[in-house]
């Protein structure tokens, strides 16, 4: 079974969720080839071998620096043919998921997104998907020989199983007609930890009272090396950028630790955080519904608890 894994990069380095996709493919028991599109740090790409890839293809064409979904789908479809791959695996993302879906149509493959576990192959090829925004799972059988799988964060444990491997240049020929969308500009927070990938998230709600108070929340995030998130009203009011809004209609996170400060715990917010391993809730109202979904809780005023918590985190380092 040959498996091709599409590895996304961020600032030239493989994304952690993409490395999980490599680990997933390896644990599935396939011969794993990874592919990277666009400019990237060649040294960083070698390390993809550590997670189970025996070959890393790098299509280092400047035209691929802009992630046009149509173009990526064409290149990966061709790579699947060249590598004789039966299965394509990637991390679900704003880029990966639509690319995966398009490829599944091009090659007539069975497709599953939001996959949370390794496949069960005792009878057929079955995967577990997260549905109803994390409130349930579906076990689905992927019937075709060709399969395209987009995994959710934490679907496979990231363990080093191999060593660095050679990066092979993978030349591509692109047609102008493939560029059916033009990316005019990109605005991206650099250096920050990406919210969907973060292992620790510190999130604030309306209880933070205003954007001018985010400094104390950011201090805690910095001490924990965490990403910051927020509730929907907070982004609706423009206190924080929209891409930080967590929940049913925002980002779904799956960190090791989610700390919610001044968030009541509405069901729509919980839908975005229910895959977190551990949830800490800080709220001045002992009856806030979020406590029912929490592992640890502190009843208290955010403006008093936050600085103390930051100090305690720093002291424990």
């Amino acid at each position: 079974m040959n498996v091709l894994v599409f590895v996304e990069t961020s600032e030239g380095k493989p994304r952690k969720t993409s490395l999980e996709a490599v680990a997933y493919a390896h644990l599935m028991g396939g011969a794993v080839t990874a592919i990277v599109l666009g400019g990237a740090d060649a040294n960083a790409l070698q390390s993809i071998g550590k997670y189970g890839a025996t070959k890393v293809l790098h299509a280092d064409d400047p035209k691929l620096n802009e992630p046009v979904i149509q173009v990526y789908a064409e290149v990966l479809t061709k790579a699947m043919q060249d590598e004789n791959a039966d299965i394509l695996v990637m991390a679900g993302s704003s880029l990966g998921t639509p690319v995966a879906a398009k490829i599944s149509i091009k090659i007539g493959a069975s497709f599953a997104s939001n996959v949370v576990e390794l496949p069960n192959t005792t009878a057929g090829f079955n995967v577990k998907r997260s549905i109803y925004t994390g409130k349930a799972f579906a076990l689905v059988e992927m019937k075709k020989n060709k399969k395209v799988i987009a995994i959710k964060k934490n679907a496979a444990e990231l363990k080093e199983v191999g060593t660095d491997v050679q990066v092979v240049n993978y030349p591509v020929s692109l047609k102008a007609s493939d560029f059916n969308t033009k990316i005019i500009s990109t605005e991206k927070a650099t250096g920050d930890i990406l919210l969907p990938e973060a292992e620790i998230v510190v999130s604030g709600g309306r209880g933070m009272k205003g954007p001018e108070h985010w400094g104390i929340l950011e201090n805690l995030a910095k001490a924990l090396h965490a990403a910051t998130g927020c509730s929907k009203p907070v982004s609706d009011m423009g206190w924080r950028p929209h891409h930080e809004h967590v929940g049913q209609t925002g980002v779904k996170v799956a960190p090791q630790l989610y700390i919610a400060i001044g968030i009541s715990g509405a069901i729509q917010h919980l839908a975005g955080v229910n895959s977190s391993k551990c949830i800490v809730v800080i709220n001045k109202d002992p009856d806030a519904p979020f406590f029912k979904a929490a592992d640890y809780g502190i009843v208290g005023d955010a403006f008093e608890v936050l600085p103390k918590l930051t100090a305690a985190v720093l002291a424990a380092k």
Partner: protein, 243 residues
């Protein structure tokens, strides 16, 4: 200009999810169904475009007769007519096949970035691929300039400004438009607006749902005194092992 808006018929966001028949069927007991929240944004933007430039707005849903109240609500919000493809929406490929079948001839096909039941986030990409036209998602802003559509698209940690020619498919999310609430006149006129029921075209079943599962229940919360936050840090390290 002709706009097609794809709406899913999904449980209200506050619904408690449960299954019946040995975990093979969704339990609809006590569940209220709504237009998918993202699809509602797509519809709202379509109505704005209609009001600004006189477009026609058709809604399409793949679903059995029980989805008609949801479709009528979309008509009450301001869509001109509707198509219901009379079939159980078994998987994304099936739904996309039906939408692509009816989606030819539209300048814009707007839908939600994802459905809140299956959360696949892929029907737009599949429809775009099937029709050979661009698909962009999630779109937070969409403006038309001649035959060009200018959009702002969310990416992890930021956004992209993108441009493509019509026809195209867009998966929408806030703040593309404000959700619209039907008024009395809309509700009255929706009753007589055309709702065409068509039979599905056949599509191979590529994936089959075997069974559903609920997540393991959460243990009880451990409360820590606000006077003793250092204890929380210790517990996160030694007990939860997440620091």
């Amino acid at each position: 200009m002709k706009i097609l808006v794809c709406i899913s018929h999904v449980p209200d966001t506050t619904s408690k999810i449960a299954f019946t028949e040995n975990n093979t069927k969704f339990d609809t007991t006590g569940v209220q169904f709504i237009i998918g929240p993202y699809d509602d944004y797509a519809l709202a933007r379509a109505i704005e475009l209609k009001e600004a430039s006189g477009a026609t707005v058709t809604v399409i849903n793949v679903g059995l007769a029980e989805t008609e109240p949801t479709i009528r609500k979309a008509l009450a919000i301001g869509a001109d007519d509707a198509i219901r493809v009379n079939a159980e929406p078994s998987d994304s490929f099936f739904v996309a096949t039906q939408i692509a079948e009816h989606g030819k001839g539209y300048d814009l096909i707007l839908m939600g970035r994802e459905s809140i039941d299956y959360n696949s986030g892929v029907v737009h990409a599949m429809v775009g691929e099937m029709l050979g036209i661009p698909s962009i998602s999630p779109v937070m802003k969409l403006d038309i300039e001649g035959t060009k559509v200018k959009m702002s698209k969310e990416i992890e940690g930021g956004k992209e400004q993108v441009e493509a020619n019509m026809p195209l498919v867009a998966g929408c999310q806030e703040p593309i438009a404000e959700w619209k609430i039907p008024n009395m006149r809309g509700i009255m006129s929706a009753r007589t607006k055309p709702l065409k029921v068509v039979e599905p075209t056949s599509a191979e079943q590529l994936v089959a749902t075997q069974k559903y599962e609920l997540p393991a229940p959460k243990g009880a919360v451990k409360m820590i005194s606000a006077e003793n936050v250092a204890e929380l840090v210790t517990l996160l390290k030694t007990e939860a092992k997440v620091l």
